[in-house]
């Protein structure tokens, strides 16, 4: 009797016991830090008089003050616009190239596919900061071999660290580093398309281009959506490339991207309360944009299925 009861209890408790580790970890390393960030963002430092000596500084409730300050700060908006411009180059170019490479690798007559695949993927393995440093050297006219060659050939030498050139320069680093990964994702789902589908199309006399446009691309649409989703998130959070290029040029300010502004607020100006508010805003915008996109993509797929 007692053993039976214990057994029943054990079975009942089992799911909770299994959930416990994940719940604790989630609470400790996810919910708690986010909660603390939100708490910080709702407070501010209040100084009395000269603010020197002990007791001159206290943490007080700020309400939404940090948020209104952040949202009315023209620099945050300007940063968001810069990132938008940057994303408008990076996302289409990177995904376009990734799709193109994946499709080319997937054709029948391709040679040296494994080597090529690896070569395209390899830049992804290089840490972002290292990549940015490397390209930074190549962008500086005085030390870049490219500029040396351009100079010798008497060709014009564009300034890649200013104005529009800067966007191209930053995007180039991202595209160089990210194309390989996205290509692998798309390529893997291309490989998953059953062979009979290709064969049927070929027997019907469809040329490779038509097969790619009408069969392959529609069939890998879910992975395109996925890579697009990831790319949007990564773009909104661009930080390491402009931060690494910043010391090389006057054109990149310390608040070039919104995340850089958060960093400068926290570690340059020592105002963690404003930084927390900025971080929460960026997280919310990222959430809304990326899930909004996923939703739109999903509902479209469903509509198509219903048709």
């Amino acid at each position: 009797m007692t053993s039976a009861r214990r057994k029943a209890y054990g079975v009942k408790g089992a799911p909770y016991a299994f959930l416990l580790p994940a719940t604790i970890l989630f609470a400790l390393f996810f919910a708690l830090p986010i909660g603390y960030a939100i708490w910080l963002s709702l407070h501010k430092v209040q100084v009395k008089g000269l603010g020197l000596g002990s007791g001159a500084r206290s943490e007080v409730w700020a309400g939404l003050e940090n948020y209104t300050d952040a949202l009315t700060d023209s620099e945050l908006l300007a940063g968001a616009l810069r990132v938008l411009g940057y994303g408008a180059i990076v996302v289409p170019v990177m995904l376009g190239l990734a799709l193109l490479f994946a499709l080319m690798l997937d054709t029948e007559r391709v040679r040296l596919a494994p080597v090529t695949r690896l070569a395209i993927f390899l830049p992804y393995a290089i840490p972002g900061v290292v990549a940015a440093l490397l390209w930074g050297f190549l962008y500086l006219p005085d030390v870049s071999p490219f500029y040396f060659v351009l100079d010798k050939l008497g060709l014009p030498q564009p300034d890649l660290l200013d104005g529009g050139g800067l966007y191209a320069a930053l995007s180039n680093i991202a595209v160089w580093g990210g194309t390989g990964f996205n290509m692998i994702v798309i390529y893997t789902s291309l490989q998953a398309i059953p062979a009979e589908v290709h064969e049927a199309a070929k027997l019907d006399g469809a040329p490779p281009l038509q097969i790619a446009l009408r069969i392959k691309i529609p069939m890998v649409a879910p992975s395109l959506v996925l890579t697009f989703f990831f790319s949007i998130i990564a773009t909104l959070q661009v930080f390491s490339e402009p931060t690494t290029l910043k010391p090389l040029t006057n054109s990149v300010s310390t608040t070039w991207s919104p995340l850089m502004k958060v960093y400068v607020d926290a570690f340059g100006k020592g105002d963690i309360h404003s930084a927390a508010a900025g971080a929460v805003i960026i997280a919310l915008v990222t959430l809304v944009l990326s899930f909004g996109f996923l939703r739109a993509a999903n509902s479209r797929t469903k509509q198509e299925e219903a048709r």
Partner: protein, 442 residues
């Protein structure tokens, strides 16, 4: 890399809370204090410093005077500058700041304002006499308290390529007016060569130049701060450099870049307004030009004057979190006044000590290796150090410095009005102080 890491999403929120995690991590490395009763029995202290070789200097203490006093000091190597200030503030929030910290002079008011630094006036009687007044005054913030002991100072000087000055038939400028004429004369003789650059990536240089001109950026009047970043003296400095950049007499690209190194190394830039520590920087930036440089006093605003500013320099401070403040003050005093300690600091850390007696000690009879052609380098340096103008730092220097980088970086790039950039710097600094609740008068 902006590609595809879904976990990034969490990292956004985590960026701001890294501060929290940082505090925990710091707690782990800063907790070497034993629970000893104040200053009796063996004491061990932790010291955050970025000076290279500081651990070796601390070993001298641990094996010598520290052994007798039973005070052991452990050095934890840190990054320099603003990042360390943030780290100290964070550690202090968790009440786990180390016993001793190295800090730049301009960060002292920020740290005092956050109640991080202990007043050690009672433990450092008579130490004041070892330092020049302008240097010591920075550690008291004009009060009776003493918040730090000066370690090194960075009197500003003018560095130039002696050989190229001869080649281009240029005179070493004694006033800023002559400096501008030298820049123009050089441009005429060699259009591809610049005398120097105006760089917006190190605010300390501009602050030092303003200090030379007599600027007082932060002053107090009763319970009110007065911010004078936009004062007449600083405007004069800003307009001077802005004018040179605008007319193209000097370069406008930042320093400390690979391009800057190359320009110095190949003689595309032939002078540098810098401080006493410049030989160390030049050794790594322009190794090919060893023995070709010379140092002279900074150009003056009017002939016959003899003033310089300071760029860099730091002090040793005791934190309020320390359980052994007197022991910590003892070590700080030894470190910055004892001849053996200062000689070791100069040798291992390559610093230029703030203590006046040390500036003419044995460690400084020989010129730096890079300046072997100028045997009296340090004799001149100590003369120049005596002419350092007093500085006036406030509680949010970090904000002013950050604004400087962006505002002047943009102005230098666009070759536009430096006065407007200076106004931005003033406005942002005042706005930040008001936001924090300081009483401010402009």
């Amino acid at each position: 890399m902006p590609n595809t890491k879904p976990r990034r999403l969490r990292q956004v929120a985590a960026t701001s809370v890294a501060v929290v995690l940082g505090a925990t991590a710091l707690a782990a490395c800063g907790s070497s204090d034993e629970d000893s009763e104040a200053d009796s029995g063996p004491v061990s202290l932790t010291y955050w410093s970025w000076t290279p070789g500081m651990d070796k200097v601390a070993d001298l203490w641990n094996k010598g005077p520290g052994k007798d006093e039973q005070i052991t000091v452990t050095v934890k190597k840190q990054a320099s500058g603003d990042t360390l200030v943030t780290k100290i503030l964070t550690a202090h929030k968790a009440k786990k700041a180390p016993d001793l910290v190295q800090t730049e002079y301009q960060a002292l008011p920020t740290l005092v304002s956050n109640d991080v630094l202990a007043d050690i006036a009672g433990d450092v009687d008579g130490v004041q006499d070892k330092f020049a007044e302008g240097v010591w005054q920075q550690t008291t913030l004009g009060s009776d308290a003493v918040y730090a002991i000066p370690q090194d100072s960075g009197p500003m000087m003018f560095y130039y390529r002696e050989d190229l000055f001869k080649q281009y038939e240029l005179e070493v400028p004694k006033t800023w007016e002559e400096f501008a004429e030298t820049a123009r004369a050089l441009k005429k003789k060699s259009p591809d060569t610049d005398l120097t650059t105006f760089s917006a990536n190190d605010s300390g240089q501009f602050a030092g130049l303003a200090q030379q001109a007599g600027a007082k950026w932060w002053t107090t009047e009763g319970e009110t701060w007065k911010v004078g970043i936009d004062d007449a003296a600083t405007q004069k400095v800003a307009d001077f450099w802005g004018g040179l950049v605008e007319e193209g007499a000097i370069d406008n690209q930042p320093m400390y870049t690979p391009a800057w190194n190359k320009a110095l190394n190949t003689g595309k830039q032939i002078a540098w307004v810098s401080a006493v520590w410049a030989p160390g920087t030049l050794t790594t930036a322009a190794p090919g030009t060893k023995g070709k440089w010379a140092m002279a006093p900074l150009p003056q605003w009017s002939a016959g004057e003899n003033v310089t500013g300071s760029w860099g320099g730091s002090s040793t401070a005791v934190t309020t979190d320390s359980k052994n403040k007197s022991a910590a003050a003892k070590f700080a005093t030894w470190l910055n006044t004892d001849p053996a300690a200062l000689t070791a600091l100069a040798k291992e850390g390559g610093i230029y000590p703030a203590a006046t007696t040390a500036q003419t000690s044995d460690a400084f009879t020989e010129p730096p290796a890079f300046f072997s052609n100028q045997p009296d380098f340090y004799t001149q340096a100590s003369e120049i150090a005596k002419t350092t103008a007093p500085s006036a730092w406030g509680p949010n220097v970090n904000v002013a410095y950050t604004t400087f980088k962006d505002a002047f970086g943009k102005a230098a790039k666009d070759k536009s009005d430096f006065g407007a950039a200076l106004k931005t710097m003033q406005d942002d600094t005042v706005a930040d102080m008001k936001k924090q609740g300081f009483e401010v008068a402009e």
